[in-house]
Amino acid sequence: MTVSTPPATQPPVAFQIGADDNVATLLVNAEPGPVIVRGSTGERQITASEPIENSHKIAIAPIAEDADVIKFGVVIGAATRAIAQGEWVHLHNCRSRLDERSNAFDVHTGVPEDISYE
């Protein structure tokens, strides 16, 4: 997908789908700093604590270890460690409750690391 970085004057937008979601999806690349969370509950500002790529998820509320990660109002996985508001939520701190290979992928490329090529 094509990625773009907005001018520094406009904080990047993250889209929240369900009112009870604890993650939102970035619509552009975000650097550490302010992020607008837009969605069904209106708009508010939070602070990204690290760079987060377009289409990836930002925690919009603190998530305890093994607590549900919620998007679309449904459980999409479990936190593998405590996650603070503003952190990137992905394969390094969230796993599927179904797919046993869920923790076996490179966090940036998604390439599986559990298959030997030797």
Binding site: M1, F15, T25, I76, C94, S96, G110
Partner: protein, 417 residues
């Protein structure tokens, strides 16, 4: 399996203001088409060049075919469902002459549905050139017969069956592209129409949600059974429908991808599960199960490509297909027009000639989801009244028929419980 049309209801909807009806092609089974297409069907790959050449330069002639020489009940059911589709007015079947699949039997079945149909074997009529000439001659005879029979009648939302499919998904598909289709499906169902969604392999993780969406206890049981079969299938083939590109694109788990795909279903109760080449027994929202059933040969993949899934939806009687793509796709379809929806404004602007609807405006805040769904409904209505979709205008007529196994009863036997 089709209830008789209540003319008074149909007329009342036809007359009511902002949901005013349009004209459709009445078929003998009571269904109505939004197009009147002559379908050329080849029954083995060896006849494909002749079949396509017959269709070349002909107005409203689409070509489909089955590549295999050996026949397959699943594929035959699909060919019959396409030949008797509401958008089809006449059929010509073309065989080489030595294959298992029988062109004359297909033509006979289509004639019994009240449509003009004809067939021939290439080996009995000379070679390539003479067969193309014969086919074109038969097309003009079929067209003449079809034009005499044609019956244009009032048509409304309740006569419309719309299918939805996604492919080339990105982060916007679950946020805007699929939700706008879901919100439109709610409108369609509320107006008495029929909506069909599929891709059960992308519903893994959603068993309780599916169960709760069942319109009746029987519907919920069908949904649980379809889910459990798919779950077994995924575990047996040791693969979930999520790929490295999805992870790199920001999706973290199959549950997340599933919910983004499931958004296409909207929020209305699900009436039950149909199988490939079955028609919904009544109006409302339906799930289509295209996952192969357990079989001694274990053959058949669920959805080897997007076009295969689109054909499944068309075989169920969908007169229009909504195709959601975030990254962009350049497919279309034979038989039923494809409306291309993207949730990505960058993709929309890059592929304007191919994209029919930009749901990316929901994400930029230009339009609300309910407003976008109303706009999509207006587009669907325009296409139903004859407006060409972008893929149609570009000449896209993709099709895909393949070997698979499902324990589906014959079409006449109705819905599989």
């Amino acid at each position: 399996m089709n209830e008789p049309i209540d003319k008074s209801i149909s007329e009342a909807i036809w007359q009511s203001g902002n949901n005013a009806g349009w004209r459709g092609y009445l078929r003998s089974d009571g269904r109505k088409g939004i197009r009147n297409i002559i379908l050329v069907v080849y029954t083995v790959e060896c006849a494909s060049h002749v079949a396509h050449s017959i269709g070349n330069g002909e107005q409203d002639v689409h070509v489909i075919g089955f590549p295999g020489c050996y026949d397959n009940q699943y594929a035959i059911r699909m060919i019959l469902a396409l030949g008797r589709h509401p958008n089809i007015g006449a059929v010509l079947t073309v065989g080489l002459g030595c294959e298992y699949t029988q062109p004359s039997k297909i033509a006979q079945s289509v004639r019994e549905s009240g449509r003009p149909a004809d067939s021939f074997f290439i080996q009995e009529n000379g070679g390539t050139a003479t067969s193309i000439a014969l086919g074109k001659q038969k097309i003009s005879q079929l067209r003449a017969e079809m034009d005499i029979q044609v019956q244009l009648v009032p048509m409304s939302w309740s006569d419309l069956v719309v299918g939805s499919e996604c492919g080339g998904s990105d982060g916007t598909s679950g946020l805007a592209g699929n939700p706008v289709v879901g919100a439109f499906f709610d409108l369609l169902v509320d107006r008495g129409g029929t909506a069909i969604f599929e891709e059960i392999v992308e519903m893994i993780g959603l068993r309780p949600i599916l169960d709760a969406r069942g319109a009746t206890p029987q519907a919920s049981e069908q949904l649980r059974n379809a889910y459990d079969k798919t779950d077994r299938y995924c575990r047996e083939v040791r693969q979930y429908s999520v790929a490295p590109g999805n992870f790199a694109g920001g999706l973290t788990t199959i549950e997340e991808k599933s919910m983004g795909a499931f958004a296409k279903s909207g929020s209305r109760p699900i009436q039950g599960v149909i199988r490939v080449a079955e028609r919904p027994p009544h109006n409302g929202l339906w799930l289509l199960d295209s996952v192969p059933d357990a079989h001694f040969m274990q053959f058949g993949y669920t959805n080897p490509n997007d076009t295969e899934g689109i054909m499944d939806l068309i075989c169920a009687g969908s007169q229009i297909i909504l195709f959601v793509t975030g990254r962009g796709s350049v497919i279309g379809s034979a038989v039923s027009p494809l409306i291309k929806v993207t949730g990505n404004s960058i993709t929309y602007n890059r592929m304007k000639d191919d994209m029919d609807f930009n749901a990316g405006r929901i994400l930029s805040g230009e339009i609300t989801l309910p407003a976008a769904a109303e706009e999509l409904a207006a587009l669907v209505r325009a296409v139903a009244t004859g407006q060409l979709t972008k893929p149609e205008a570009l000449g896209h007529r993709e099709y895909f028929l393949m070997y698979k196994h499902q324990d589906t009863p014959a079409l006449e036997a109705g819905c599989h419980a």
